[in-house]
C-alpha cells in the first residue's frame, strides 16, 4: 500500500523522532512511504488567526504537492483536521474545488489510518511503565478520532494506561493562542500538568505535537521527569526493548 | 378586551428581506427525540415511578383513597397546630368540602386582595393538581375556576392532592393537554404552573438552599382511586 507522509512543520523542525517513528512504523505495517518535498504547512496558524487569504496560499501548495497521493497520512490530529476542511474552504473556487476535496477525502490521522484503513488494532511494541493519554481537542471532538489511539495503546506490552483527571479540558496550546494569550495558556497548561502529576505516571503520550510541545514545555520548566512521547514513538518501539 | 400592538409593522419591515416571507406550512417536528421514561413505564407502574422521582426532589408522597383523604389531610395539618391553613379547591366530594370549610380558610375571590394577605399569613396552602409528571415528580396547576395562584406560592408548606389518573409520563403529554385548554375560546387558564418540589437556589457559593421565595416544603397526597 502506498502512503504519502505529511510530516507537518512541527515534526519537520522540532520533532524529527516523531517523523522517523511514523515512517518506520508504517513500513513495518507493510506500507511504502513516500515524502514529496514540496510539503510545508497545512496553513492552520494563519487560518485559525483569521487570515483566510494568506493561509490559502499555503493550502494550495499542499494541494499541489499531494495531488498524486493515494493516502495522505499525518501524525497530527489538528493538521489532519485542517486538511479535511480544504474541501469546504475551496468549495466556491472553480479551479481548486475538486482537487481540494480529493485531498480532504484521502487524508488520515496516523492512528485513524492504522485502525480504520489498515485494519490493525494491535501492534506488538513494548513500553514498560504507567502512562496517561492526552486527548487533543481537535482530534477527538472535531476530527472524531477518539477510540483508535486508546485501542492501540491498550495492546502495547507492559504498558499500564491510567485515567487523566479532567482529560476533556484543553491544554491551552491552540496554536497562536499560546503566544497571543500567553498568560491564559500558561494557566491552562499548569492545570493540565497538575493533573498529570496527580496521576503519578512515567509517560504522557499524545498524538499532536502542538499539545506535546505545550505540555512538555511546561513539564520541563517544572523540572518534572515525566517523559513526553508521541504515540508513533510508542508504537514503533521494538518488542522486548 | 384586546390588547394594543404598537410599532409592529415598522419593526418587522426593517428585516423582512432577510427572513422568509409568507406563511410556513405548519411544521411537524422532523426529529422526534425519545425519552427513557417510556421504556421504563413498560416495566413499572406510572405511580411508582412518579413517587420515586418525587422523592429525589424532596417531595414526600402519602398514598390514600377518596374515603381516607380527609384523615390524611388532618394528620398533615396537625403538625402545624394552630397556624392558618389556606385552601383553593373546587370539589364535588362532600366529605372533603366539609373538612375544608371547617379546617381551612378558603380562597374567596369576592374578598379580593384580602386573599393574598391571607395566603401570606398561612402556614399551609392546599390545592389539587390538574396533571402530574412521572418523569420528574412534577405537579401541574392551572388556575381556571378561580384557583388562586398565591395558594401554592406564599405559604411555607404546599400540600398537593393528586388524582392518580392524572399522572402522565412527561412534559410532552402535559403540553398536549395544556394546548387543548389554551385553544378554547370561552375560558382558558391565564396561568399554568409546573411545580417540581420546593423552591431552591445555589446562588451562594453553589450551596443548595431550599425555600428562597416559594414554599420550603412540598407534600403530595396521591389519591389512588381518583
Amino acid at each position: 500500500m502506498r502512503v504519502t507522509l505529511f510530516s507537518t512543520c512541527l515534526v519537520d523542525l522540532f520533532y524529527t523522532n516523531v517523523g522517523i517513528s511514523t515512517v518506520e512504523l508504517l513500513e513495518k505495517l507493510g506500507c511504502e512511504v513516500d515524502y514529496p518535498k514540496g510539503q510545508i504547512c497545512c496553513g492552520q496558524p494563519a487560518y485559525n488567526s483569521g487570515y483566510k487569504k494568506d493561509s490559502k496560499n499555503a493550502m494550495k501548495q499542499l494541494i499541489k504537492t499531494f495531488d498524486d497521493a493515494e493516502y495522505v497520512v499525518t501524525p497530527s490530529g489538528s493538521c489532519a483536521l485542517m486538511l479535511r476542511e480544504y474541501g469546504h474552504i475551496f468549495a466556491d473556487d472553480e479551479k481548486w474545488a475538486d482537487r481540494s476535496k480529493r485531498l480532504s477525502d484521502k487524508t488520515y490521522e496516523l492512528t485513524e489510518f492504522i485502525v480504520n484503513v489498515l485494519g490493525i488494532d494491535s501492534i506488538p511494541s513494548t513500553l514498560e511503565g504507567k502512562a496517561v493519554f492526552h486527548t487533543s481537542c481537535h482530534m477527538t471532538r472535531l476530527l472524531g478520532v477518539k477510540e483508535e489511539p486508546k485501542l492501540l495503546l491498550s495492546n502495547v506490552d507492559k504498558l499500564e494506561m491510567k485515567p487523566l483527571a479532567n482529560a476533556h479540558n484543553c491544554c491551552g496550546f491552540g496554536g497562536t493562542f499560546s503566544v497571543k494569550m500567553g498568560d491564559i495558556s500558561s494557566e491552562m497548561v499548569q492545570e493540565k500538568t497538575r493533573s498529570i502529576k496527580e496521576a503519578n505516571v512515567d509517560y504522557v503520550i499524545g498524538a499532536d505535537c502542538g499539545c506535546l510541545m505545550n505540555i512538555g514545555g511546561r513539564l520541563k520548566r517544572e523540572k518534572e521527569t515525566v517523559e513526553v512521547l508521541h504515540i508513533a514513538e510508542v508504537l514503533n518501539r521494538e518488542m522486548g526493548v | 378586551m384586546k390588547g394594543n400592538i404598537q410599532n409592529r409593522e415598522h419593526f418587522l419591515s426593517r428585516f423582512a428581506d432577510r427572513v422568509q416571507g409568507g406563511v410556513p406550512a405548519k411544521r411537524m417536528n422532523q426529529t422526534k427525540p425519545l425519552s427513557s421514561i417510556y421504556s421504563r413505564l413498560e416495566n413499572e407502574s406510572i405511580e411508582d415511578v412518579f413517587i420515586e422521582n418525587a422523592k429525589t426532589i424532596h417531595a414526600e408522597t402519602i398514598r390514600t383513597n377518596t374515603e381516607n383523604l380527609t384523615d390524611v389531610l388532618e394528620t398533615i395539618c396537625q403538625h402545624v397546630a394552630k397556624d392558618q391553613i389556606l385552601s383553593s379547591i373546587q370539589t364535588d366530594n362532600e366529605q372533603l368540602e366539609n373538612w375544608l370549610s371547617q379546617r381551612t380558610v378558603k380562597w374567596t375571590p369576592p374578598e379580593g386582595d384580602q386573599n393574598i394577605k391571607s395566603a401570606a399569613q398561612s402556614r399551609i396552602g392546599i390545592t389539587y393538581c390538574d396533571i402530574a409528571l412521572a418523569e420528574s415528580g412534577t405537579v401541574v396547576l392551572m388556575n381556571e375556576n378561580n384557583i388562586g395562584r398565591s395558594v401554592s406560592l406564599l405559604p411555607e408548606i404546599h400540600v398537593v392532592i393528586i388524582p392518580q389518573s392524572k399522572i402522565v409520563p412527561r412534559l410532552k403529554e402535559a403540553m398536549t393537554l395544556v394546548d387543548g385548554r389554551l385553544n378554547r375560546v370561552d375560558s382558558f387558564p391565564t396561568c399554568v404552573n409546573f411545580i417540581t418540589g420546593p423552591s431552591n437556589s445555589a446562588d451562594i457559593e453553589f450551596v443548595l438552599v431550599v425555600g428562597v421565595h416559594g414554599p420550603l416544603e412540598t407534600i403530595y397526597v396521591l389519591v389512588e382511586n381518583e
Binding site: D12, L13, T16, V18, G19, I20, K37, I40, N48, S49, G50, K52, S55, C137, R141, H168, N169, C170, F173, G174, G175, F177, K180, G182, M188, E191 | G3, N7, R8, H10, F11, V19, Q20, G21, P24, P33, L34, P109, E111, E135, S136, T138, N143, N146, G148, S150, L153, L171, T176, V178, T190, V192, N193, F194, S199, N200, A202, E205, H213, G214
Partner: protein, 479 residues
C-alpha cells in the same frame, strides 16, 4: 448597566481576574459539578443527540420565519388581553417601559432575572424617575445590594462572591445580624424580598420562551421569584429579545427539556410558569395589565449573515460551563454581561468590534462549546468567522501580525523558499543557542511562551533531511 460592564483592555482585566483565587476555585468547582450533573441527566433522558437536533431544527425554523412568528405571537397576546410593544432600540424599550410605569404612578418595582433588561440598562432608567427597582433572583439581589456588582455567569450571576463578602454586605445594608451560612443568608433575603413582593406595584420579567401559537410567556426558575413577580403586582411588564420564541407548546416541551438539563442537569426546574395574558376579570391574583416588550437592539442586523446561528441561543450557559478559558479568567474578564463562548460571539455583534475585538481570540477553538450546545450552535466556527472579519476589516489586526501572516503565506507557498529558509534558520539558531535542548528566554512574542514554558530548539537536521537519506538508502538496498 448596558451590555458592557467594564472599561479598559481585555488583557488587563484578565491579569486582574486571574489573580482572584476564590473566583477561579468557584468557577472550576461549578464547572466540574455542573458538568457531571449535565452528563447524568442527559444520559438518563437518553437519545441526547436527537434532542439536540430537534432543538436546532425548532430554533432554526423559528428564526428563518421570524416575521411570521412574531406576528402570530403579538396577535395571540393581544387576543388574550395583553399589550405588545415592538422596541427597535434599547432607548425605545426604556422609554415605553418608563411611560407605562409613569401612567400607573408606580414607584415600587420588583424584577425577576432578565439578561435583556440588563442589556438595555433598564434599572438605571427607572431609578432616574425615582422608582425603586428590586432584583429578586437571589444572585442578582446580592449583586444589586453590593453596589451593582456586575454578573459573572449567565445562570449563577454571583458565582464570584464569597459568602463572607455577602454576609458583610448584608450586615452593612440590610440589618442582618447572623452568620455567613448560605441557609441563613437566604432566609434573610426571603424575608426582605417577601416584603418587597407584597407591596410592589409593577413586576418586570424576562422571558425564556414565548410561544407564538398560544401567546404564552414561559418563565423558568428554581427560586419562584418569577411567580412572585407575576402574581402580586397589578402590572406586569415582560421584556424579551425578539428571537426568544418557539412556534408551539409541543416545541416548548423540547426546549424546556433541553434548557434545564444543559444548564443545571435537572430534568425540569422547580417552576416552569406559562402566562397567558393578564388575569381574567374574576381572578384575584395575577396582573390586571400585561405589557410585552419585544426588543431588537441589534439582533436583526445578525439576520441573514453568517452569524445568524447565534440567534438560536437559549441562554442556558452550558458553553460557559465547559469553556477551559472561562474556567481560568471568569465572567468579568469578558467585560460584557454575556461572558464565555456565547458572549464572545454575541457581544461584538451587538456592541461592535471596537471594545470587544479581543474576545473572539480568547479561545483555543477546542470545540467544547460547540459540542455541548443543546441547540447545536457552531460556536467555535463563529469565533473563527469573527477573526476573519476582524482581519478583513483592515485596521483591526496588529500590523506586525499582518506582516507576519503575509510572510507566512508567501513562505509556505514555495517549496524552494521553505527549504532554504528553514535550513538557514535552523543552522543559525543552533549556533546562537550552542547546543541547548530548549529555549528558556525567548525574544519578542516568544516571551509569551517562555514566561512559563521551555520552547524546543529547532533541530539542525530536519526530518526531511533524514527522509532524503532514508529514501536513498532504500533505493540502494533495492538494487
Amino acid at each position: 448597566m448596558s451590555i458592557k460592564i467594564k472599561e479598559g483592555k481585555f488583557k488587563e482585566r484578565v491579569t486582574d481576574e486571574m489573580k482572584n483565587d476564590f473566583m477561579r476555585k468557584a468557577v472550576s468547582g461549578a464547572q466540574d459539578s455542573l458538568g457531571n450533573r449535565r452528563l447524568l441527566s442527559t444520559d438518563k433522558l437518553g437519545d441526547w443527540e436527537s434532542w439536540r437536533t430537534a432543538g436546532n431544527e425548532i430554533r432554526k425554523h423559528t428564526i428563518d420565519n421570524l416575521t411570521h412568528y412574531l406576528t402570530m405571537l403579538s396577535e395571540q397576546i393581544s387576543a388574550k388581553g395583553g399589550h405588545v410593544y415592538f422596541a427597535e432600540t434599547d432607548e425605545d424599550a426604556r422609554n415605553y417601559i418608563k411611560d407605562v410605569v409613569k401612567k400607573k404612578n408606580a414607584k415600587k418595582i420588583v424584577k425577576s432575572k432578565s439578561m435583556v433588561t440588563e442589556e438595555i440598562g433598564l434599572n438605571a432608567a427607572l431609578e432616574e424617575i425615582d422608582c425603586e427597582v428590586i432584583e429578586t433572583d437571589l444572585g442578582e439581589y446580592i449583586l444589586q445590594v453590593d453596589d451593582h456588582d456586575p454578573p459573572s455567569h449567565i445562570v449563577a450571576p454571583a458565582l464570584h462572591k464569597k459568602k463572607e463578602q455577602i454576609r458583610d454586605v448584608f450586615i452593612e445594608k440590610l440589618g442582618y445580624d447572623k452568620t455567613e451560612d448560605p441557609g441563613e443568608l437566604a432566609k434573610h433575603s426571603r424575608k426582605m424580598l417577601r416584603e418587597k413582593f407584597l407591596n410592589a406595584e409593577v413586576g418586570i420579567t424576562g422571558c425564556n420562551f414565548a410561544v407564538a401559537e398560544t401567546g404564552t410567556i414561559c418563565i423558568v426558575t428554581n427560586e419562584g421569584n418569577a411567580r412572585m413577580v407575576t402574581t402580586i403586582p397589578k402590572t406586569q411588564i415582560t421584556v424579551m429579545g425578539m428571537e426568544r420564541l418557539v412556534p408551539s407548546l409541543e416545541d416548548l416541551d423540547i426546549m424546556v427539556s433541553l434548557l434545564t438539563r444543559a444548564a443545571v442537569g435537572q430534568p425540569i426546574s422547580s417552576y416552569v410558569t406559562l402566562l397567558n395574558g393578564p388575569k381574567a376579570e374574576e381572578e384575584v391574583d395575577g396582573p390586571e395589565d400585561l405589557h410585552v416588550v419585544i426588543v431588537d437592539n441589534g439582533r436583526s442586523k445578525i439576520l441573514g449573515t453568517e452569524f445568524q446561528d447565534i440567534l438560536n441561543c437559549i441562554r442556558c450557559g452550558a458553553c460557559l460551563n465547559v469553556c477551559p478559558v472561562y474556567r481560568h479568567i471568569g465572567g468579568h474578564s469578558y467585560g460584557s454581561i454575556y461572558p464565555g463562548p456565547v458572549g464572545a460571539v454575541l457581544t461584538p455583534l451587538l456592541d461592535g468590534y471596537d471594545d470587544h475585538k479581543d474576545l473572539p481570540y480568547a479561545s483555543t477553538l477546542c470545540g467544547a462549546c460547540t459540542d455541548v450546545c443543546p441547540v447545536k450552535i457552531p460556536l467555535h466556527d463563529l469565533l473563527l468567522k469573527h477573526r476573519q472579519e476582524i482581519v478583513e476589516q483592515g485596521g483591526r489586526a496588529p500590523m506586525s501580525e499582518k506582516l507576519l501572516m503575509k510572510a507566512f503565506g508567501f513562505g509556505a507557498s514555495s517549496g524552494g523558499l521553505y527549504e532554504s529558509g528553514t535550513k538557514i534558520a535552523t543552522v543559525s539558531l543552533k549556533m546562537l543557542l550552542r547546543n541547548k535542548e530548549t529555549i528558556s528566554n525567548g525574544p519578542g512574542m516568544m516571551k509569551e511562551w517562555t514566561n512559563s514554558k521551555e520552547f524546543p530548539t529547532p533541530k539542525t537536521s530536519r526530518f526531511r533531511d533524514w527522509m532524503s537519506k532514508h529514501e536513498s538508502e532504500k533505493k540502494h538496498d533495492e538494487r
